[in-house]
C-alpha cells in the first residue's frame, strides 16, 4: 500500500493523541480517586451508585431520627425516674400518716412535706425538652400539661390535664416507627382509684361511728359487678344498696368481720354507731396529683377523737393503695421507654452495618476502593509507557527521508 508523507505524520500524531487522551482520563480518575464520576462513565453502575447513595442518605436520616428519639426518651426516662422517687417519698408520708398516735401538729408537718412533694411532682411533670417543648402534653407541645385551680370550698387544688392523648411517632427504618413521647394523660392521669376496682369512702358528716373500712378487694373477678354502692350501718345491721336503691346485702355487723356482695369483699372493724355510711364506687379514675392532694387534705383533716381517726384510717388505706398504683403507672411508663430504647439500639446497630455495606458496595462500583485505585494506578503507568513508545516510534519514523541523502 502506498503511504503518503502526510499520512505518516497524521497517523503518528493521531496515535499519540489517542494515548494522551487515555492518559488524561486516567489522571482525572486518579484525581477524583474513582473510575466513575459521571453517568456517562458507566450509566448502569452510576444509577446503582445513585440508588445506594439514596439508601445511604435515608439510613442517615433514620440514624439521626434514632438519635433524637433516643435522646428524647432518655430525657423522659430521667424525669420519670425522679417522679418515681417523689412518689416513693409520698408513700413514706402516707405510711406515717397511718400511724394513729401522731398529733395534729405532726400531721400538719407531714402535710407541708407532702405539699412540697406535690409541687415538685407538678414541676417534674411539666418538664420541657431541649427545645423548650413540654414532654408530657401530647401534641400540645406549647401547653404545660398539668394545670391546677384553687377550690376555695375545699381549700385545695383541682388538677387538670391540658394536653391531648397523641403520641408522636418517629420513623427509624422503612418499616419501624417508635413513639418518642408519652402523653401525661396515660402516665399521671387515668389511674384507677382505690384498690384498682373500687374506692371506699366514709360519707356521713359529721362522723359518728368509729368503724374503719378496709381497702377491700375483688377475690373472684367473675363475680364482680361494678357499680356505685352505699353501705349503711343501722342497729348493728349492715345494709348495702346499689345505685337504684335495691338492697344487695343485709347482714349483722360483726367487728373485724368481712362482708361480701357482688364479688366485692370488705372488712369492717370498730364499734358501730347508727348512721355511719360508706360509699363504694367502681371504675373511677384519679390522677397522681389529686391522690396526693387527697393525702394532704386527709393530713389536714381534724384529728380530735376516735371517730376522726377512724375516718382518716379508712381514707389512708385507699391513699396508700392508690399511690402504689401511681408508682406502678410511672414504672410501667419507664419500662415502656426502656423497651423502646432497646429497640432503637438494635435498629441503630443494624442500620449502621447496612450503611457500611452500602458504602463499600458503592465504593466498589465507582472504583474508589483499594482494588479500583490500584487498577487505576497500574493503568496509568502502562499508558504512560505506551505513550512514550508511540512518541519514540513517531520521531524515529519521521526522521527517515530520502532527502537526507540527496
Amino acid at each position: 500500500m502506498r503511504i503518503s508523507t502526510g499520512q505518516i505524520f497524521k497517523t503518528g500524531t493521531q496515535q499519540i493523541m489517542t494515548k494522551q487522551a487515555r492518559l488524561a482520563e486516567l489522571s482525572k480518575q486518579l484525581a477524583q480517586q474513582a473510575k466513575i464520576a459521571n453517568a456517562s462513565d458507566d450509566s448502569v453502575a452510576f444509577s446503582q451508585i445513585q440508588i445506594l447513595n439514596n439508601q445511604y442518605n435515608k439510613a442517615q436520616i433514620y440514624q439521626s431520627n434514632n438519635q433524637s428519639t433516643a435522646s428524647a426518651l432518655n430525657n423522659q426516662d430521667s424525669v420519670l425516674s425522679s417522679i418515681g422517687g417523689i412518689v416513693q417519698s409520698l408513700q413514706i408520708v402516707a405510711n406515717q400518716a397511718g400511724n394513729g398516735t401522731l398529733s395534729s401538729a405532726d400531721r400538719l408537718a407531714l402535710a407541708t412535706q407532702a405539699q412540697s412533694l406535690l409541687d415538685a411532682l407538678q414541676n417534674n411533670a411539666n418538664s420541657t425538652d431541649l427545645n423548650g417543648n413540654y414532654m408530657f402534653s401530647g401534641s400540645k407541645a406549647n401547653l404545660a400539661p398539668i394545670g391546677r385551680t384553687y377550690d376555695s370550698s375545699t381549700n385545695s387544688y383541682d388538677y387538670v390535664y391540658n394536653g391531648d392523648d397523641k403520641q408522636r411517632f418517629q420513623a427509624i427504618s422503612d418499616s419501624t416507627t417508635v413513639a418518642s413521647n408519652d402523653p401525661g394523660s396515660d402516665i399521671f392521669f387515668n389511674i384507677a382509684s382505690g384498690n384498682g376496682n373500687f374506692y371506699v369512702a366514709q360519707t356521713a358528716n359529721p362522723n359518728q361511728g368509729t368503724v374503719v373500712a378496709s381497702l377491700g378487694s375483688v377475690p373472684d373477678s367473675s363475680q364482680y359487678i361494678p357499680g356505685d354502692y352505699t353501705l349503711t350501718i343501722n342497729g348493728n345491721v349492715v345494709d348495702v344498696t346499689d345505685s337504684n336503691n335495691n338492697s344487695v346485702l343485709s347482714t349483722p355487723y360483726q367487728d373485724g368481720g368481712s362482708i361480701t356482695f357482688n364479688g366485692i369483699s370488705l372488712s369492717l372493724s370498730g364499734s358501730a354507731q347508727d348512721g355511719q355510711t360508706f360509699s363504694i364506687n367502681s371504675g373511677q379514675k384519679v390522677s397522681l396529683f389529686s391522690m396526693t392532694q387527697q393525702l394532704i387534705t386527709s393530713l389536714k383533716a381534724p384529728n380530735e377523737n376516735q371517730a376522726d381517726r377512724a375516718a382518716i384510717q379508712t381514707t389512708n388505706y385507699q391513699i396508700i393503695s392508690q399511690l402504689s398504683r401511681g408508682l406502678s403507672s410511672v414504672n410501667n411508663a419507664r419500662a415502656n421507654v426502656g423497651g423502646r430504647l432497646n429497640q432503637l439500639e438494635a435498629i441503630n446497630t443494624s442500620t449502621a452495618s447496612l450503611m457500611l455495606i452500602n458504602q463499600e458496595t458503592s465504593q466498589k462500583l465507582s472504583g474508589s476502593d483499594t482494588e479500583g485505585l490500584t487498577s487505576i494506578i497500574s493503568d496509568f503507568q502502562s499508558s504512560q509507557a505506551f505513550l512514550q513508545i508511540a512518541q519514540q516510534a513517531f520521531t524515529s519514523i519521521s526522521k527517515l527521508s530520502v532527502f537526507n541523502f540527496i
Binding site: S4, S43, N54, N57, N131, D165
Partner: protein
C-alpha cells in the same frame, strides 16, 4: 542530425515538465485537498525512413490527478457520521456532567431537603428545624429553575450553532456554484477540481448531502428529500427558522421548506439530536419531577394542620393553575380559530415523557387527531358533547376517559375551533422553570394531622381511639362523638347518624367519620370500652408537637408517583441521569467507531492522492538524471556537428 536534436529537445521539455510537476507536488505536500499529480509520458510518432521506423522523441501525454471518486464519497459519508456523533458527544457530555455532578444536579438538593424534613419530624414544634426545611426547599426550587435555565440556554446556543453551520454551508455551497460557473466556461484545471472536492468534503461534516455530477461536468448538491442547495451555478440559502417553537428543536429552512427531517447525519444532525434526545428529554423529565413533587407535597400539606391552626396551604407551585394549564398548549400562528386550549395534569403516574400534536381535522363534526410525538401513536378523540359545552373537556372515544396519558385537555369554547387548527401540547417540558416554593412562613408547614381524637376522661373501660387515614378534610372541623350504648358495650352510635353500629371489643374497629355518606377520615377504636363510654374527634388545634402529617411529607420524596406508581421523585432523577449518561456514552462509542471508519477512508484517500516525499525524491533523482542525460545527448549532437564542420573545413 536535426532529428536527434529535436528528439533531445522534446525530452528536455518533457523532463522539465516532469520536474515541475514533482516540484509542484513537493510544494503542495501540505495543501489540504491537493491531489498528487503524476506525469504520463508518451513516445512521439515514429518517422518511416525507408522500411524502418525511427522514433522522434517523447512528449507529456497528460498530467494526471490521482483521485478516486468512490474513496472521496466514502470520506464524505464517514466524516459526516463521525462529526454527527462527535457533536452529540461533546454537547451531551456537558449536560451529563451538570446533571450528575454533586454540586450542580438536583440529587444533592433532594437529599438535603429530605434530611431537613426528617429532622423536622423529630422536633415538629421547633422553629429552627422548620426554617431549615424552608431553606432547603428554596434551594431545591432554585436548583430546578437553574437546571431548566441551563437547558434553555443550551437550546439557544444550539440554535446559534446550527445557524452558524447553515451560514458555513451557504458559503461552501456558493463556492461550489462558483466552480460550476468556471467549469462551464471550459476550465478543467486540477486545482479547481481539488477545490471542489475539498468543498464537498467540508460540507459533509455539517450534513450528509446528495452529490450529483451533471453531464456538463457541473456538480449539484441537495438534501435527501430533493431540496437543492446548489443546482448548476445557482446556490440556495439554508436558514434557521426564526419562529418560536414550543418544544425543544431548531428548524432548518431551505427555500422556505422545512428540511430538518432530511438531515440524517453530520454535525447539524448531532446538534438536532442533542436538542431532542438530551435537552428535550431532560426538560420533560425534570418538569415531570417538579410537577410530581409539587403535587404530592401540596396534596399532603392540604391534609395537615399548620402552626397557625389552619389547614396547610400549597408548599410549591400549583402546576394546575389556569395560567400554567394554558401555557402547556401552544397554538400555531397559522391557526384561524380562536379557541384556547388548556392542559391539566390529572394523574402523574400515567404521564408520558412526550409532547403531543392536536389537530382539528373537521370542526363541523368534531373530529380531532392527537398524536403522541415520542412514538407517533395516534389517539382517537372526541369532545364530550354531553357535558358543558363551555368549557368542554376532551375525551377518548374508545374508553370514554377524559384524560389521555394522565393529562386532561379542555377548550374554552368548542365553537371557536376552525379546520386545521393545530396545537402543540407540552405537558411537562420546561415546567421545572416554574417550580417555586410558595410557602414563606415556617409556621405554614402542616406537620400535624387535622383531627384530634380523645377518649372522654370519665370513661371506665380500656377503650382507646386513634386516627386512621385521612381522605379529605371536609369533616375535620366538625366535632364528632362516638358513644357506646349505655347498656350494651358492643354497640355504638356516631353523632349525626341514628344508625346503631356493632363493635368487636378487644380488636381494632375502623370507624368512618362521618359514618353515613362519603367518609372524610377514619378512626380506630381498640381495647375494651365499657358501656356508656364515649370518644370524640375534633379539629387538631394547638398541636405543635404533632408530627404525623410531617412523617407523610418526609415520605413524599420516596413515594412511587410516576410510571404507574413504581417510580419515585428520587428514582426518576436517577433514571434521568443514567439515561443521559447512557446516551452520552453511546454517542462517544459511536463517534469512536465512526472515527475509525473515517480514518480508514481518509487513509485510502491519502494513499491515492497524498504526496509521498520519498517518492517525489526518487522521481526528482530519476528525472534529474534523465535531464542530465538529455543534456549530454545535446552536447554529443553539438560535438557531432563540430566534427562534420571540421571535416568540411
Amino acid at each position: 542530425m536535426s532529428d536527434i536534436m529535436s528528439t533531445s529537445l522534446s525530452a528536455l521539455y518533457a523532463y522539465k515538465s516532469a520536474l515541475t510537476t514533482v516540484s509542484n507536488n513537493i510544494a503542495n505536500a501540505n495543501t489540504p485537498g491537493y491531489s498528487r499529480q503524476s506525469v504520463l509520458f508518451a513516445a512521439n510518432a515514429s518517422q518511416k525512413i525507408g522500411s524502418n521506423y525511427i522514433g522522434s522523441g517523447v512528449s507529456v501525454a497528460s498530467i494526471q490527478r490521482n483521485v478516486d471518486n468512490f474513496v472521496n464519497y466514502q470520506v464524505r459519508s464517514t466524516s459526516s457520521v463521525q462529526s454527527q456523533y462527535d457533536t452529540l458527544f461533546n454537547s451531551s457530555a456537558q449536560i451529563d456532567q451538570i446533571l450528575s455532578g454533586d454540586g450542580s444536579g438536583i440529587s444533592a438538593s433532594l437529599q438535603l431537603f429530605s434530611s431537613a424534613l426528617g429532622a423536622m419530624t423529630s422536633n415538629p414544634a421547633d422553629r429552627a428545624a422548620r426554617n431549615v426545611v424552608l431553606q432547603n426547599g428554596q434551594l431545591l426550587a432554585d436548583r430546578f429553575k437553574s437546571m431548566q435555565g441551563i437547558l434553555t440556554q443550551y437550546q439557544a446556543d444550539s440554535t446559534k450553532k446550527i445557524s452558524q453551520s447553515a451560514d458555513q454551508i451557504n458559503i461552501l455551497a456558493k463556492g461550489i456554484a462558483d466552480i460550476n460557473k468556471q467549469m462551464g466556461a471550459g476550465s478543467t484545471s486540477p486545482d479547481l477540481l481539488d477545490k471542489r472536492d475539498n468543498l464537498l468534503q467540508q460540507l459533509s461534516s455539517y450534513s450528509d448531502l446528495n452529490v450529483i455530477t451533471q453531464s456538463d461536468g457541473s456538480t449539484s448538491v441537495g438534501f435527501g428529500n430533493g431540496q437543492m442547495l446548489v443546482t448548476g451555478t445557482t446556490q440556495h440559502d439554508l436558514s434557521v427558522s426564526s419562529s418560536k417553537s414550543a418544544d425543544f428543536g431548531t428548524k432548518l429552512l431551505l427555500g422556505g421548506v422545512d428540511v430538518t427531517a432530511s438531515v440524517s447525519s453530520g454535525s447539524i444532525k448531532g446538534q438536532l439530536d442533542f436538542e431532542t434526545k438530551i435537552l428535550g428529554k431532560a426538560s420533560q423529565s425534570l418538569g415531570l419531577i417538579a410537577i410530581g413533587l409539587a403535587g404530592e407535597f401540596n396534596t399532603q400539606q392540604s391534609l395537615g394542620v399548620d402552626l397557625n391552626n389552619q389547614l396547610g396551604g400549597n408548599f410549591f407551585t400549583d402546576f394546575n393553575s389556569a395560567a400554567l394549564q394554558e401555557d402547556r398548549a401552544i397554538s400555531f400562528t397559522s391557526n384561524t380559530g380562536t379557541a384556547v386550549v388548556s392542559v391539566s395534569i390529572s394523574d402523574t403516574s400515567q404521564i408520558q415523557l412526550s409532547d403531543y400534536n392536536l389537530t382539528v381535522t373537521d370542526a363541523a363534526t368534531n373530529q380531532y387527531s392527537l398524536v403522541r410525538k415520542s412514538d407517533g401513536t395516534s389517539i382517537p378523540l372526541t369532545w364530550d358533547s354531553s357535558g358543558p359545552s363551555s368549557p368542554a373537556t376532551l375525551s377518548v372515544t374508545a374508553t370514554g376517559n377524559t384524560s389521555v396519558d394522565g393529562i386532561s385537555i379542555t377548550v374554552d369554547d368548542i365553537s371557536r375551533f376552525a379546520n386545521n387548527d393545530r396545537f402543540t401540547l407540552v405537558p411537562t417540558g420546561g415546567m421545572a422553570g416554574y417550580f417555586n416554593q410558595t410557602i414563606t412562613d415556617f409556621r405554614g408547614i402542616a406537620a400535624a394531622s387535622p383531627v384530634r381524637t380523645q377518649a372522654t376522661a370519665a370513661n371506665t373501660g380500656s377503650g382507646q381511639i386513634a386516627l386512621g387515614t385521612i381522605s379529605d378534610t371536609s369533616a375535620v372541623n366538625t366535632p364528632y362523638t362516638i358513644t357506646i350504648d349505655p347498656s350494651d358495650a358492643t354497640q355504638y352510635t356516631v353523632s349525626g347518624d341514628a344508625t346503631v353500629y356493632t363493635l368487636t371489643p378487644g380488636s381494632d374497629n375502623v370507624i368512618n367519620i362521618p359514618s353515613s355518606g362519603t367518609p372524610s377520615f377514619t378512626v380506630v377504636l381498640s381495647g375494651t370500652p365499657s358501656a356508656g363510654d364515649s370518644f370524640s374527634t375534633s379539629f387538631n388545634s394547638d398541636s405543635s408537637g404533632d408530627n404525623s402529617n410531617g412523617l407523610q411529607l418526609a415520605k413524599a420524596l420516596n413515594k412511587g408517583l410516576f410510571s404507574g406508581g413504581s417510580v419515585s421523585v428520587i428514582d426518576q432523577n436517577t433514571n434521568l441521569i443514567s439515561d443521559i449518561g447512557a446516551l452520552t456514552n453511546d454517542s462517544k462509542l459511536r463517534s469512536e467507531s465512526a472515527g475509525v471508519l473515517s480514518q480508514q477512508a481518509i487513509s485510502a484517500q491519502d494513499s491515492k492522492s497524498g504526496v509521498n516525499m520519498d517518492e517525489e525524491g526518487g522521481d526528482l533523482i530519476k528525472y534529474q538524471a534523465a535531464f542530465a542525460a538529455v543534456g549530454k545527448l545535446m552536447q554529443i549532437v553539438q560535438e557531432m556537428n563540430r566534427v562534420i564542420l571540421d571535416s568540411m573545413r
